[in-house]
C-alpha cells in the first residue's frame, strides 16, 4: 500500500496515542475493579466474623451474607471479558472455567438448595474463598499500582497450597450433601415425553460434576505450583509446546 513516509509516521503516532489512551483507560478500570472486589470480599469476611461472634453458631450465617456473596461472585464474570478483550493476559478458558465453577456453586447449589445452607462444608468453602479472593484482588491492585508488598506476593503464591484443597473438600462435601434433596425434588430436571425430545437429570449431572474434579483439580493445582516456582524462585519452566 503506497503512502508517503510522512503519512506513515503520522498514522503511527496516532495509533500509538490511541494505544496509550486505551491502556490508560484499561489500567484505570482494572485498578478500580480490583479495589472494589477487594473491598467487597473484605466486607464479606467481616460480616461472617461478626455473625459468628454475635450468634456463636454458623447456622443462618449463609443467609445473612447471601446477597453480598451473590453480588460480588457474579460480578467476577467481567474478568472473562477482561481476558477476551485482552486487557488481562490470561486464557479466557481458564478464567471462564474458574468463574463458572464459582457461579455454579453459589447459584445452582447453595442458593437453590436451602436444606444444605447450614452445613459446615458451606462455611468451609466460604472461608477459603474469602481468604483467597482478598489475597488475589489485593495482589492485582498492588501490582497495577506498581507497589506490591512482598507479603501479598508471598500470600498469593503460598496460601493456595492449603486453601485450594480445603476449598475443594468444602465444595465436594456440599454437593454430596445436596444430592438426596435434588433427587427427592427432581429440581432442574426434565423428563420424557416433552416437545423438545430431550431429558436432563440434575442428580446425575451433579455426580458427573463431582467426578470431574478428579481430572481438573490436579491440573489447576499443578499449574498454580508451576506459577509459584516461576514467580517466587525465578525458575524457568520449559512448557510443552505443541
Amino acid at each position: 500500500m503506497a503512502s508517503s513516509e510522512d503519512d506513515g509516521t503520522v498514522e503511527e503516532k496516532e495509533n500509538n496515542n490511541k494505544k496509550r489512551t486505551k491502556s490508560a483507560v484499561a489500567t484505570a478500570w482494572l485498578t478500580f475493579y480490583n479495589i472494589a472486589m477487594t473491598a467487597g470480599w473484605l466486607v464479606l469476611a467481616m460480616a461472617m466474623m461478626r455473625f459468628y461472634i454475635q450468634k456463636g453458631t454458623h447456622k443462618g450465617l449463609y443467609r445473612s451474607i447471601a446477597r453480598t456473596l451473590k453480588f460480588f461472585q457474579t460480578f467476577a464474570l467481567v474478568e472473562v471479558g477482561h481476558c477476551a478483550i485482552g486487557i488481562v493476559r490470561t486464557s479466557v478458558i481458564v478464567t471462564g472455567v474458574q468463574v463458572c465453577s464459582r457461579i455454579f456453586m453459589v447459584w445452582f447449589i447453595t442458593n437453590s438448595i436451602r436444606q444444605i445452607q447450614s452445613e459446615e462444608s458451606v462455611i468451609l468453602f466460604l472461608v477459603v474463598w474469602t481468604m483467597t479472593e482478598i489475597t488475589r484482588y489485593s495482589y492485582y491492585t498492588f501490582s497495577l499500582l506498581h507497589h506490591l508488598p512482598y507479603f501479598i506476593k508471598w500470600a498469593r503464591y503460598n496460601l493456595f497450597i492449603i486453601l485450594y484443597p480445603l476449598g475443594v473438600i468444602g465444595e465436594l462435601m456440599t454437593i454430596y450433601a445436596a444430592l438426596p434433596f435434588v433427587r427427592r425434588s427432581g429440581m432442574y430436571s426434565m423428563r420424557l415425553p416433552n416437545m423438545y425430545n430431550v431429558s436432563f437429570d440434575y442428580y446425575y449431572c451433579l455426580i458427573i460434576v463431582m467426578l470431574s474434579y478428579i481430572p481438573l483439580f490436579p491440573q489447576l493445582y499443578f499449574h498454580m505450583l508451576r506459577q509459584r516456582r516461576r514467580v517466587l524462585h525465578g525458575e524457568v519452566i520449559v512448557e510443552k509446546d505443541d
Binding site: L192, P193, M195, Y196, N197, V198, S199
Partner: protein, 308 residues
C-alpha cells in the same frame, strides 16, 4: 505434513532439531538431494517437518532450495510432528461410527431402552424418515471421502482421530437416543413441518454434493494447485457468488432441516456446535483466499451471505 524439499544447487545444508538446536546432520556441497530421515523407520516422511524457522511453518515438498531465503549454508530446523494418520482413514472411521450407532438405536438394540421395547420400531413415520435421512447423509459422506474429495494434506496427527470420533460418535448416540425413544414426541406442526424440513434437507444435501464436485474439478488429479472456485452451470453452485465456503453453508442447512424434522434439542445443539466449528474453518479459508489471490471477488462472505 510431509516435507522433502528438493535441492538443486551447490550449497551446504545443515539441519538442527527445532527444540534442542542440536545439529542432526550436515550436507556439504549439495547437488541434488531430497532431505528426509531414513535412519529410523519410525520417522516416516509424513511426520517430519522441516522449516526455516523453529516456530515457523513447514516447508512443502515442492520447495526448491535455490528459491528459499537462505545463505550459502542453509540452516533448516527439523521437528517431529508425532504419529500421523491419513485423512482418508480418519474420515472413514469418524463417519462409519454415526451410521452404525444411529441404526443400533433405530432398531432398539437391547440394553438401551426398557426391555419391553427391544427390537421394536417406532410408530411415528417421521422417525423412519429421520433414520433414512441420517443414514443417507453419512453414506454420502463416506462415498465422497472415497471418490470425490481431493485432499491437500495426506496426514494429520494421530490424536485427532480420538478427538473427532468422540465428537461424531458421541453426538450421534445422544441424538439417536431421543429420536428413536419410545416416548418420542413428533413435531408440533406435524406433516407440514416434516415436509418443509425434508425439502430443506434434500436441497442442501444436493447443494453440498454439488460444491464438493465443483471443488474436485478445480484440481486435476495428483496436483496441489489452488484456484478460486467460481459458479458453474449447476445452479447449486451459484452460491459461490456470495460465499467462499458454500459446502459449509449447505451443511448447516442440512442440519437445520434435520433439526426441524425431528424437533429434537440435542440435534439443535449438534447443529449449533457444528456451525461454530465450520464458521471458524470458513473464516480461515476465506482469509487464506484473500491472502493468496489479489483478484478475489469482494462480494463473498466466509459462510453466510452478507452476514458472516
Amino acid at each position: 505434513m510431509r516435507s522433502t524439499p528438493m535441492i538443486y544447487c551447490r550449497r551446504s545444508v545443515e539441519i538442527l532439531d527445532a527444540k534442542t538446536k542440536d545439529k542432526l546432520c550436515f550436507l556439504d556441497k549439495v547437488r541434488t538431494y531430497t532431505i528426509s530421515f531414513h535412519h529410523d523407520p519410525q520417522w516416516y516422511p509424513a511426520r517430519q517437518s522441516i522449516r526455516l524457522d523453529p516456530k515457523g511453518k513447514s516447508l512443502k515438498d515442492e520447495d526448491v532450495l535455490q528459491h528459499l531465503p537462505v545463505g550459502t549454508t542453509a540452516t533448516f530446523y527439523f521437528r517431529d510432528l508425532g504419529a500421523q494418520i491419513s485423512w482418508v482413514t480418519v474420515f472413514l472411521t469418524e463417519y462409519t461410527g454415526p451410521l452404525v450407532i444411529y441404526l443400533m438405536f433405530y432398531f432398539r438394540v437391547p440394553f438401551i431402552y426398557a426391555p419391553k421395547y427391544d427390537f421394536t420400531t417406532s410408530k411415528h413415520w417421521v422417525v423412519h424418515l429421520a433414520c433414512m435421512c441420517h443414514s443417507f447423509h453419512y453414506v454420502k459422506r463416506l462415498l465422497e471421502t472415497l471418490f470425490v474429495h481431493r485432499f491437500s494434506h495426506g496426514t494429520m496427527p494421530l490424536r485427532n482421530i480420538f478427538k473427532n470420533c468422540t465428537y461424531y460418535w458421541g453426538f450421534a448416540a445422544w441424538m439417536a437416543y431421543y429420536i428413536n425413544h419410545p416416548l418420542y414426541t413428533p413435531p408440533i406442526y406435524g406433516e407440514q413441518q416434516i415436509r418443509l424440513a425434508l425439502i430443506v434437507f434434500l436441497f442442501c444435501q444436493i447443494g453440498n454434493f454439488s460444491i464438493h464436485v465443483a471443488l474436485r474439478n478445480l484440481r486435476p488429479p495428483g496436483s496441489k494447485t489452488r484456484k478460486i472456485p467460481y459458479p458453474t452451470k449447476n445452479p447449486f453452485t451459484w452460491i459461490f457468488l456470495l460465499v467462499s465456503c458454500p459446502n459449509y453453508t449447505y451443511e448447516l442447512g442440512s442440519w437445520l432441516g434435520f433439526t426441524l424434522m425431528t424437533q429434537c434439542l440435542p440435534v439443535a445443539f449438534f447443529t449449533l456446535v457444528g456451525f461454530i466449528q465450520m464458521t471458524v474453518w470458513a473464516k480461515g479459508k476465506h482469509r487464506s483466499y484473500l491472502k493468496e489471490f489479489r483478484d478475489y471477488p469482494p462480494l463473498r462472505s466466509p459462510i453466510l451471505p452478507f452476514v458472516l
